[in-house]
């Protein structure tokens, strides 16, 4: 009993309770507080995601716009090549060497590399043929140590690879029954670290670990040479377990712009030319597709509504050296006068075609109608039937007058091909000329395989974003899969944040293996493992150059900064045109335009599909009345290259074409002494 004690305890308890009540807020309040914090944090993350997303858009737009510009460069080169066969006047020069599909027969002979001595002082890896595992191991170790493989071995490697590739069919058929899981990797783009990481995680290529590498081994990254040497070495070592598909960057003209040519010239100087020539051949000999168990098709880009796998199996794939060069024709067809007349005729056909399709039905006599639309139908008659409507017909129809229909069809004003609007420096010229249907078919089928992208809507339309191949819809996929008894299409060609992505109801997989492609932290890389049940399993990774873990905010900020700098460079490069447009909309010379007009001008001049309004705070200042001070777009610019005080237009033009100019200098500067870089 003890009433006193119990009372005391009660009071104590009560005291405790009150104290607790003071310290612990009511449950309702806690919940409220929690919800508030959660709401705030979720919004914070969403804002970050928004920034990450448009940063991504910026990188992608600029990347693809750059690829379109590529056509310009090759137009220029082809023009030079066709009209000035020898630049230096004494012997074939590098340009014709690089662009002329005819390879120096010297390189087909074994002597080409045996005569190159490897000095005793050379400390790099020494390999012997036929290759064995110790050779490939030596290459891996050497490249990890930043060593360079001697030119003699590179040439020998390429020579052997070329011999082996010649024996391979266009489409490789693999089976999972005799092997363990097959590993499929996407674009590497010279990212050696990613390749080494894949080998580390997944195992080196072997009978137990067969691989398919789906193209784009080179360009953009700094170690394209090392990546492609390793891949070819394993290919020679295990031709049954190491399979390489061609990508759109296994193309000597793409290499001119996107870094592989430069890397080879820098690393190999005197032997660079021969090495590049052999690469040109080897690249065009790479198979264009792989099929697993007759059910899974693997190609680099995608397909079109005209993709014909049987036809593709039968062609001579090596004849299509580059997506950007049409097979050469005889000199007679290069008569520029003739093409000018064609141009004039084309322009008038254009205008009548442009008025509308239905118009052509009713106007003129049948004869006239036929003639007027003849050229149009000619080029769309490339392939078979009515299904060609969407993919070829846009070449003639000027539905996008301001944006060039940049198909990597013929590459120069003087080089013959079907109708095309070719951007040539700053203007457009139409170039129509007939060409043998057979060659064009082969070329188109291969370009479609290497350059196309999937889209969500049905149908098949030309890929204007890239300037080559098509956008193919789920119906196109379905039709092709059905036609050939296939189950799935695996392709690469597009960078994905998680390294892979499904589309077309799970029937198409994009696999991309270069992590941090745009910027440190921009994306993961991934590879697929496919076993007998043909259910893909994905493995992701991300190479990190720094040991300290960056927070998401820091990573996004870094990527954003990089993207915005690239974007500002674009603004600067088009300054005159932009200013002219701004001033047009600012008759009273206030120095401002509305946000809406500002966005319109940018979209129109730069032709980049970006959320300009969202980006505005990073690009331009607002005046007190909420309008944009358009001059501020061009401030805070550090272009990198010193721009001397020359006439503003010249500086701008130089800056805009700086990549092209650099490439030209790289070529002219044969010994790569860099002395001509006085710019």
């Amino acid at each position: 009993m003890g009433c006193g004690t119990s009372v005391a305890t009660e009071t104590q308890l009560k005291k405790l309770e009150t104290e607790e009540a003071v310290r612990t807020p009511g449950l309702a309040l806690t919940i409220k507080a929690a919800v508030l914090i959660q709401r705030w944090y979720r919004r914070y993350m969403a804002r970050l995601e928004m920034r990450r997303r448009y940063t991504w858009n910026i990188f992608q737009s600029i990347e693809y716009a750059g690829e379109q510009d590529q056509l310009q460069l090759s137009s220029f080169f082809s023009f030079m090549l066709d009209n000035f066969t020898q630049l230096s006047g004494n012997g074939p020069d590098l340009i014709s060497q690089l662009l002329n599909p005819v390879v120096d027969p010297w390189l087909d002979r074994e002597i080409c590399y045996t005569l190159i001595p490897v000095p005793d002082s050379y400390t790099g890896p020494r390999i012997s043929f036929p290759l064995c595992v110790s050779d490939t191991n030596a290459l891996l170790s050497a490249f990890k140590e930043q060593q360079i493989l001697h030119a003699r071995y590179v040439l020998q490697l390429l020579f052997e690879a070329k011999k082996l590739l010649k024996q391979m069919p266009n489409i490789i058929h693999l089976s999972t029954s005799y092997t363990k899981d097959i590993t499929i990797c996407g674009d590497l783009h010279g990212h050696l670290d990613d390749l080494l990481l894949i080998f580390y995680k997944n195992g080196l290529p072997s009978a137990e670990t067969p691989y398919v590498f789906n193209g784009d081994f080179v360009d953009r990254g700094k170690k394209s040479v090392e990546v492609v040497i390793i891949l070819f070495a394993y290919f020679l070592l295990y031709p049954d377990y190491m399979h390489l598909n061609r990508g759109n960057h296994e193309d000597h003209i793409m290499n001119l712009r996107y870094g592989f040519t430069k890397e080879v010239m820098q690393k190999y100087k005197n032997h660079g030319r021969e090495i590049l020539q052999l690469f040109q051949d080897v690249f065009s000999l790479l198979p264009i597709a792989t099929v697993i168990d007759g059910k899974v098709l693997i190609v680099h880009g995608g397909i079109s509504d005209q993709t014909d796998l049987d036809f593709l199996s039968s062609i001579e794939r090596h004849k299509v050296k580059s997506a950007l060069r049409f097979p050469r024709h005889s000199l007679e067809q290069l008569d520029i006068g003739q093409s000018c007349r064609h141009v004039k005729r084309m322009r008038s056909v254009d205008s009548s075609c442009s008025s509308s399709r239905s118009y052509s039905k009713n106007q003129g006599t049948p004869g006239q109608r036929k003639r007027r639309c003849k050229l149009k139908r000619d080029d769309s008659a490339v392939s078979t039937s009515s299904s060609s409507s969407s993919s070829s017909s846009s070449v003639c129809s000027p539905h996008t007058p301001s944006s060039q229909s940049l198909r990597p069809c013929p590459s120069s004003p003087s080089l013959p091909c079907k109708v095309l609007q070719v951007p040539y420096l700053d203007s457009l010229s139409s170039v129509p000329l007939p060409s043998p249907p057979q060659h064009e078919q082969e070329w188109k089928q291969i370009v479609d395989i290497l350059w196309s992208d999937p889209k969500t809507q049905e149908g098949c339309s030309p890929n204007s974003f890239r300037g080559g191949g098509c956008y193919f819809g789920p119906d196109v996929t379905q039709r092709l899969l059905l036609q050939h008894g296939l189950q799935m299409l695996i392709r690469s060609h597009e960078c994905k944040q998680e390294g892979y992505e499904f589309c077309h109801g799970g029937k198409v997989i994009t696999i991309f293996s270069a992590s941090n492609y745009y910027e440190e932290g921009s994306n993961r890389g991934a590879y697929i493992k496919l076993g007998r049940e043909l259910v893909p399993r994905f493995y992701q990774y991300q190479v990190s150059r720094i040991t300290r873990k960056l927070t998401l905010t820091q990573r996004i900020r870094a990527a954003e900064g990089s993207a915005l700098r690239a974007l500002k460079e674009k603004l600067f490069a088009h300054r005159s045109e932009l200013m002219a447009n701004f001033q047009q909309r600012d008759p009273n010379n206030t120095g401002t335009v509305s946000v809406c007009e500002w966005a319109q001008v940018l979209e129109c001049v730069l032709r980049l599909d970006l959320p300009w309004r969202t980006l505005r705070p990073h690009l331009a200042r607002l005046a007190s009345d909420g309008s944009v001070e358009y001059q501020s777009c061009f401030e805070d610019m550090e272009p990198g290259a010193p721009l001397p005080k020359v006439a503003p237009n010249l500086a701008e033009t130089l800056f805009r074409y700086r990549t092209d100019i650099e490439i030209i200098f790289n070529i002219i500067d044969k010994d790569h002494s860099g002395k001509k870089k006085a710019l």
């Binding site: 310290r23 309040l29 919940i31 507080a33 919800v35 508030l36 959660q38 928004m50 448009y54 309004r613």
Partner: protein, 157 residues
């Protein structure tokens, strides 16, 4: 809805935000992006608010939202300021409610406990991300007072 210039302005903003997630340029976005878009337009909806919003605009459980449905609903939200922002002081108070002793900081496990069990709970993934973002590495603490002003600044730069 009468087309005033304010409405037109708002609609332009909505379209621009929508556009960022419209990857295939066909005026649709994945339904999972809707919350991000709403947040980026300056709103602070709760999860329940978002569920209600999505129910109104999602295309028949197809997993995507078309701009035609999104635009009017979002315009209304903005015009009526349905999901107003959280003032900094309220946020500070919220943290102080959870940080009973008002130390000015919290231990990661403490905050995690609340975030995962109270209110509109976080998933483990969200929790991990939040901890990475908010925890001061050296002290292994969440110093919320500094964080609030820092992070708010971050958003607007």
């Amino acid at each position: 809805m009468a087309e005033t210039s304010e409405t037109a302005d708002i609609q332009r903003k909505i379209r621009a935000a929508f556009h960022v997630f419209d990857h295939k340029a066909d005026n649709t976005v994945d339904v999972r992006e809707v919350s991000t878009i709403i947040y980026s337009l300056g709103c602070f909806p709760t999860k329940a608010d978002i569920h209600r919003f999505v129910d109104e605009v999602e295309e028949d459980n197809m997993g995507y939202v078309h701009l035609d449905k999104f635009l009017p609903v979002m315009t209304k939200v903005l015009l009526e300021n349905k999901f107003p922002p959280i003032p900094e002081e309220n946020l500070l108070q919220a943290f102080e409610v959870l940080d009973k002793e008002r130390r000015g900081y919290m231990e990661p496990q403490e905050l995690a406990k609340y975030m995962k069990s109270e209110g509109e709970t976080f998933s483990q993934e969200e929790m991990n991300e939040m901890l990475t973002a908010l925890v001061d590495e050296k002290k292994n603490l969440i110093c919320y007072k500094e964080l609030i002003s820092q992070l708010t600044l971050d958003l607007d730069t």
